[in-house]
């Protein structure tokens, strides 16, 4: 066992494996484009069913059309293991070399991005493996309270503020909605609150996210002018992880660019060690 690990370890933490894996991911995603283009309806439910339920239903019926996605997960897993081992060994190496010298921090900028990528991948995995969606859609109208299935939360549309476009610049939008703001009343046990929701403006309550899926009326001349909203209610367990990773990656990238273009360092990452670590 120890001998096997000794042989695998240098391969596992090597840059050649990272380059090979990323090349294969490039090809796999291009193949994914062809599969997705022809079968959007097959992949759309992945947004709300989650990976496991989707895998046992849609993907099980169409294994060849969804193979690229499972191959992508395998490749990303290999890339994650490679990034973790490679980056950690490199960081430890740099720490030993630069422990008592200046410049250690600037050598670590690129590794911040590597760790951030891992955090993003774990966040996405958590988000899609345990989606925790309560209902595909909850419709709220004025004067009627609707219970969100699986919870003790009741919601109701309290007020709506719809702006219709008038003007010459966007003629195709004349008389149609340009912006909307709805107020939703929520009741859970003894707690009663009101929250505002709009396009790209969700709200959160009791750990659940509420997103505007659809609304009405969409135009001034609509046959039915009764305001309604259709909400997507979900608990995303990966949100904090993938947004933390995104922020960390952005910071690492900004510092890396600063080092390369402002300080004028070489784009390469510290001492060269061909094929031994990133």
């Amino acid at each position: 066992m120890a001998v096997t690990l000794e042989r695998i370890w240098p391969v596992l933490k090597g840059v050649p494996l990272a380059v090979l894996t990323m090349s294969l991911v490039t090809v796999d995603l291009a193949a994914g484009y062809l599969c997705l283009r022809e079968n959007e309806d097959l992949f759309n439910p992945l947004n709300h069913l989650g990976l496991i339920r989707w895998g046992f239903t849609y993907a099980a019926i169409h294994p060849w059309k969804t193979l690229w996605l499972f191959l992508l997960f395998v490749l990303l897993f290999i890339l994650a293991v490679n990034t973790l081992t490679c980056t950690t060994s490199k960081v430890l190496f740099l720490y030993r070399i630069y422990r008592n010298r200046a410049g250690l921090i600037s050598k670590l900028f690129v590794h911040i991005m590597h760790y951030a990528l891992l955090v993003i991948l774990f966040g996405l995995l958590a988000s899609y493996t345990f989606p925790g969606r309560y209902a595909s859609s909850v419709i709220a109208v004025k004067g009627e309270s609707t219970r969100i299935p699986g919870t003790d939360i009741y919601l109701e549309l309290v007020s709506s503020d719809i702006d219709y476009y008038r003007g010459n610049r966007l003629k195709y939008l004349n008389g149609r909605t340009i912006s909307v703001h709805f107020t939703i009343g929520l009741k859970s046990g003894e707690t009663t609150v009101a929250r505002a929701i709009g396009i790209n403006s969700p709200f959160f309550f009791n750990g659940l996210g509420f997103y505007l899926e659809d609304f009405g009326p969409k135009s001034r001349s609509s046959m039915n002018d009764t305001p309604y909203v259709r909400l997507l209610v979900k608990r995303d367990r990966g949100t904090i992880l993938y947004f933390s990773g995104t922020l960390l990656f952005t910071i690492g990238l900004a510092l890396y660019l600063f080092r390369v273009f402002i300080k004028g360092s070489k784009p390469s990452r510290g001492p060269r060690n061909h094929g031994e670590g990133k």
Binding site: V15, P16, A18, V19, M22, S23, V25, T26, L29, A30, G32, Y33, L36, R37, E40, F43, N44, L46, N47, G123, L124, S127, R169, L170, K171, Y172, T177, S179, V180, I199, N200, S201, P202, G209, Y211, L232, K234, D236, G238, T239, Y242, F243, T246, F249, T250, L253, L257, V260, F261, P267, S268, R269, R272, N273, H274, G275, K278
Partner: protein, 273 residues
Amino acid sequence: MICPAWPRRGWNTGSKDKMPSLHAPFAMAAILYTMAWCTSMMPSPAPAASIPLFVLAILANLLSDAARYYHSWPFLPMYQMPFFLPSLVGILLSGSVLYQGKESRWLLGLLALLSLGALFFPKDFYLPFWKSRTIFSHIFFLTGVMADACFIISGLLALSYLKDRGTTRPIFNHWAIWGFALDTLSIFSGEIWSYLGWGSPVVWDDPLITLSMSTWFYYGCYLHLDLLRGWGMRRRALAAVLGAGLVVLFQWYPNLGPFSPPDINGLMRWPWL
């Protein structure tokens, strides 16, 4: 859904409104790019004429970009990437044309091909949709096109580097790094937009998302090549040329539509014609 009032044949198809076609400035830009390319290949002193033609082409292209945004704002102009790309590539590498650098002919040729492709193969105009009304959708689009422009320039300079047999500075690497940074910013903006609008960091409805990710991973791979044994500057230049080809294939080509000749009547309604 095809936009009823933003078609190829003017702003108001079927109406008596004699507004000029929105495509006119872009058609003008494509003609000027092509003329600049042709003059750059003629014997001296004709190539000097390519400079004013190039400047006019960039101005016409920017006017086209501004018009597309003007008729969409605060929403995103959908599927307009092929019209924005030539202007950004041209502006970023304008120094090469203005100072008659050795890449100027290739650049002008590339701009002519990109603009003619967009002119003759436009995708249908789509009604902007409500969920694109956020700053993140605009950052996603603009940084994405800028990243593509940087990748294409990187490939062009790498080609020039290969032609010179590695005697010039390999600045194509820096363009690839900027492209990667902008592409990352575009993908992260798309992630935030997707989360705010759909409650999910990736929306599996748009196949183009996979091609964006594919390009990102390719350049992630490219940036690690300098750590590999045997991957000198020449091989990396080849990888940069391949990357530019992938950007054209993965980002530009899917945004084109079927062949459709430009509307001459719409063009003629512009004051200068």
